[in-house]
């Protein structure tokens, strides 16, 4: 059987060693969704491929279709964000958490998710550009990525009865903010500023988001992480390693 050759552009999420000199590259592709491909010989120093297939970069590649793993046959860098991200430790840990979140939000390999691809690419770009503090970029990414998965926390109404308003209590099992009447036992009562920040991050309102204080950011991060992990079966390993100072 002749294997099909195909082309796509993708963000590299994860690179793992395979055998003596190969890598398995996990990517989120514009058309192909989450895909995995083998890059042969890239760890040898004579390989021209290696630098282009590093984590967090945007690449244009040609692959030979495989049953489980595709094989990379050609690759060009579009924007190789990896190096700039690695020069800022906080950005590196945030990019790692974004990559792991992207993997977990795409449980089925090969299923197209254009919005998540664009969101992931945008997040890597602003991390590389140091446009905003990296933890804000990560939290905004998680909130917006969850929206596509249908898990976004309800922030401008009661998650139970739908009553519109800036409700003060927050319940992770209920799915977000809850009104005084619906509020289940054990609901959290975050500071109003933390909820304002979460709404700003979900909407991409960077002016409000960057004006927030550190303590408020930590509070929002905690709620966002708890909300994400509640929807995933296993914890995200990289989240606890995110540099938050």
């Amino acid at each position: 059987m002749r294997r099909r050759l195909f082309r796509d552009d993708a963000v590299v999420l994860r690179v793992q060693k395979l055998g003596e000199a190969d890598h398995i590259v996990t990517m989120l592709a514009r058309r192909g969704g989450r895909i995995r491909a083998v890059a042969k010989g890239v760890r040898r120093t004579t390989s021209k491929f290696g630098a282009r297939l590093e984590p967090f970069g945007h690449i244009d590649l040609q692959m030979v279709e495989g049953r489980n793993l595709h094989i990379v046959s050609q690759v060009e860098g579009i924007d190789l964000y990896g190096r700039r991200i690695a020069e800022d430790y906080a950005a590196y840990t945030a990019a790692s958490a974004i990559a792991e979140t992207a993997e977990r939000l795409t449980p089925i390999e090969g299923e197209a998710t254009l919005r998540l691809f664009q969101l992931t690419l945008g997040a890597m770009r602003v991390l590389a550009e140091r446009a905003y503090p990296s933890t804000l970029i990560l939290d905004s990414y998680i909130l917006r990525g969850m929206r596509d998965a249908g898990w976004a926390p309800v922030l401008i109404a009661c998650a139970i009865c739908g009553l519109k308003g800036d409700h003060r209590a927050f319940s992770i099992p209920a799915g977000g903010c809850v009104c005084r009447d619906c509020r289940p036992a054990g609901s959290a009562h975050p500071s109003p500023s933390a909820l304002v920040l979460m709404r700003a991050l979900a909407d991409g309102d960077w002016k409000t988001a960057t004006a927030s204080e550190n303590g408020v950011r930590k509070e929002a991060s905690g709620l966002i992480a708890a909300h994400l992990q509640w929807h995933l079966e296993r914890d995200l390993r990289s989240l606890s390693l995110v540099e938050r100072n």
Binding site: T45, E54, P55, G82, Y89, S96, E100, L241
Partner: protein, 198 residues
């Protein structure tokens, strides 16, 4: 399917890095047909490596004694410490003949996606060594890939406030490659041209 001792051997060989099921089978049959003395030597070597080889108590390089050959060598200077990810990288740097200081083997690179953070590497042990005050320059020779660069960034942040010069191998090493595959000439040049991080 094979059974018994042969199946066990094929399974064990198949767990080795870079050995697929076909190679495991081929090696197993090679062992089966080999001379008994040769097989004894191989099994002896396997047992001895686990009994005798440990890590150096100072630099964490592999060693058969408490301190490795490099840490015992009185002609080498304590003023320069070269940080590498793995013991095999020590061999790679030694081949260049450019370096007369000591090493520190981290045991990997920071990789949050694999659950490896600073606490999972021998970074605290490095800080303890540096606090002794002998070190003037720390050379970061982690792999020239994203994880290696990020680990270097992290270490530089930690060490520079101690007043120690921190340098990184010069570019010229292909990005994405393993340090151990760099030829000694390229790696030697990267060493000579290392840049101070500021």
């Amino acid at each position: 399917m094979y059974e018994g001792a042969l199946a066990d051997l094929i399974e064990e060989l198949g767990r080795l890095p870079g050995v697929g099921p076909k190679s495991a089978q081929r090696i197993a049959f090679h062992i089966l047909s080999a001379d008994a003395h040769d097989v004894d030597r191989l099994s002896d070597a396997l047992k001895r490596v686990k009994q005798l080889v440990r890590v150096c108590e100072i630099c964490y390089n592999v060693s058969e004694e408490e301190r490795c050959r490099i840490c015992r060598d009185g002609r080498r200077t304590d003023e320069n410490i070269c940080v590498v990810e793995e013991s095999k990288d020590v061999i790679a740097v030694e081949r260049t003949g450019e370096f007369r200081g000591r090493y520190h083997v981290l045991g990997g690179a920071i990789n949050p996606l694999e659950g490896i953070g600073p606490d999972n590497l021998r970074i605290r042990e490095l800080m303890t060594r540096l606090q002794a005050g002998e070190t003037k320059e720390l050379i970061l020779a982690t792999d020239p890939n994203t994880e290696g660069e990020a680990t270097a960034t992290y270490l530089a942040l930690l060490v520079k406030p101690m007043g120690i010069t921190v340098s990184r191998l010069a570019s010229g090493l292909p990005v994405g490659g393993d340090l151990e595959y760099a030829d000694e000439v390229t790696l030697g040049r990267a060493f000579e041209g290392r840049r101070v991080l500021d």
